[in-house]
Symmetry: C2
Subunit: 336 residues, 2 copies
């Protein structure tokens, strides 16, 4: 009975916290484990200590609700980014789907490499080739057309190793962390190098993060009134690369406050971690370290996707928690 009563209190607390104060939530949560997929250890303890410190009214590190902003990288931090970024898999599938209308792609790189499934040739094209792929597949349509295409794809595409929809490959411990923070009146944001309009159609359903709390890379759009009414056309021109030093820029533009907690997994998150943690008051930074070749993947310093090198070296002196997927996570995915 006691357990049931506690859970009902937690649910009630969850309903109340976004508007009201948190002493109730704090008390209710102290009595059960809000992070059941995290093994007991230093990483889990560092999260619990931080949240407890900033939410205890009257305590020296207390942070008012409005300033409880937490930012999360997406690829490799909230969901799987191997063997390639999900959005790249989407772009490759789009090239194949659109190829019949572009016969010239059979002879033109980087499209030829995609159609031939020649990943070595694609890699040779470097970033320039990738940008070309993104522009050809992500621009030249209205925002609502793109939303439809991205939504349809995410519903049917499957991960090559796990043979499941990509949205199944979200990390259960991170979902619990998102919920735990929200129950403690944090506002949770995604701040991703990935495309903002690629994530928004499913971020609320999968992470509980609404479109207006998603920050990502973007291309320019243009307003137009056509026969069907007003539309926004996606232009083949980069607006923001929300990666590396672009993350604090995106955070400032979209959120307008400095986060007090940031979560990442790669050097692309380095500056976001700095921006969130190198400021007065209690702050928290965490790096997800991919150390689990059995349940997920093991990679860091040399990975083409999600390279973690400088940020890993900088973690100790900045006081960032490095969470080892293998040691700190009881489960990686909900289905395991």
């Amino acid at each position: 009975m006691e357990r049931i009563w506690i859970d009902r209190r937690s649910i009630l607390a969850g309903l109340l916290v976004s508007a009201a104060a948190t002493p109730l939530a704090g008390r209710a949560l102290a009595q059960h484990d809000p992070l059941p997929s995290w093994n007991d250890g230093r990483s889990k303890k560092s999260i619990l200590d931080f949240v407890s410190a900033v939410t205890r009214e009257g305590a020296p590190d207390f942070v008012p609700v409005s300033e409880r902003i937490a930012t999360f990288d997406n690829d490799g931090t909230l969901w799987c980014e191997q063997p390639m970024y999900v959005q790249l898999a989407f772009a490759l599938d789009r090239v194949k789907a659109m190829a019949s209308k572009h016969p010239e792609w059979k002879q033109t790189q980087p499209f030829k490499a995609v159609l031939d499934n020649d990943m070595a040739a694609l890699a040779k094209g470097g970033e320039k080739g990738l940008v070309e792929l993104v522009m050809a597949t992500h621009a030249g349509m209205t925002t609502s057309e793109f939303e439809q295409v991205a939504s349809d794809w995410i519903k049917t595409a499957r991960h090559p190793k796990f043979d499941r929809p990509y949205t199944d490959l979200v990390y259960q411990p991170m979902l619990e962390l998102l919920t735990y923070l929200r129950v403690n009146s944090f506002k949770t944001f995604i701040v991703s190098g990935g495309g903002i309009e690629f994530m928004r159609p499913w971020s609320e359903r999968v992470y509980g993060i609404p479109p207006e709390q998603v920050v990502g890379s973007s291309i320019k759009t243009q307003f137009k009134v056509d026969r069907d009414g007003p539309v926004l056309i996606r232009l083949p021109s980069i607006d923001l690369i929300d990666d590396g030093p672009g993350k604090p820029v995106g955070i400032n533009s979209h959120i307008g406050r400095r986060p007090i907690a940031a979560f990442g997994n790669s050097d692309g998150d380095f500056q976001m971690l700095q921006w969130a943690t190198a400021a007065p008051g209690r702050r928290f930074g965490l790096i997800v370290h991919h150390t689990d070749s059995e349940r997920e993947y093991s990679y860091d310093r040399k990975s083409p996707f999600g390279k973690l090198d400088k940020a890993l070296d900088a973690a100790p002196s900045n006081g960032w928690t490095v969470a080892s997927m293998k040691d700190d996570w009881k489960r990686v995915f909900a289905f395991q």
Copy 2:
């Protein structure tokens, strides 16, 4: 006693609605006037009818909470924009404050015009001159330095006609409307041609709208780590002009959903009104028409600030409510 009891219910409803459903709020509000500064009439009725239609569960026009997005222009819609945009008054004051460090300004337009209080010469410089003023006064410092400067100014500057702080010159009927929408689980956003970082320092205190729900014009920023740690430098380069056709662009970038209600007062809001209302489902658009030369100002088609011409002509065919400040508002400002 009855009245007190109802108000307490309303307050409780206000606390609950951002997380929970709204039947309680709906019932409580039905019993008192949520818009006491609005005269009874077509404008007020159109607002009440719209909110009632989209919040009644099971009704044909019901809109789920997550889609209840309302966008508000700022200058002339939420606060006074005469005799000039408040941010322009800020820029002029900044030029004067910074002049001792820029002796060359005494001989250079548009700065000379500002220092000479020569508004005719300033107007002659047109938009190019204004952009120069904005860049000289808004760029070349960190985001936190600018926030400090803007916050300090808004605390001390006074409106030339009303001799009050500018933040007193917010429209009481619009404050009530913001609250009424929020109590009915709308998320309220500012979408202004004004500078995003000029509004954010005080938008939560004055309007109850947090920085992350403020969209505005912006200049580019650059991340840098200097001796004091990470900073964002404001660059003299325009990022977004969040006005006219730029408003739907800003809405799409920051909110990622199409509003179901939009509120403006000038041709700069025309495309936002189109974007919000020309879509399937019940929608609402409202134009504040400045018709009150006694309590505020009377202007529309020929005003240099807040020109309302095309949008006024387009209102009837688009079903937009045109609220006359003189006839529809019992009070304009809280102090009157």
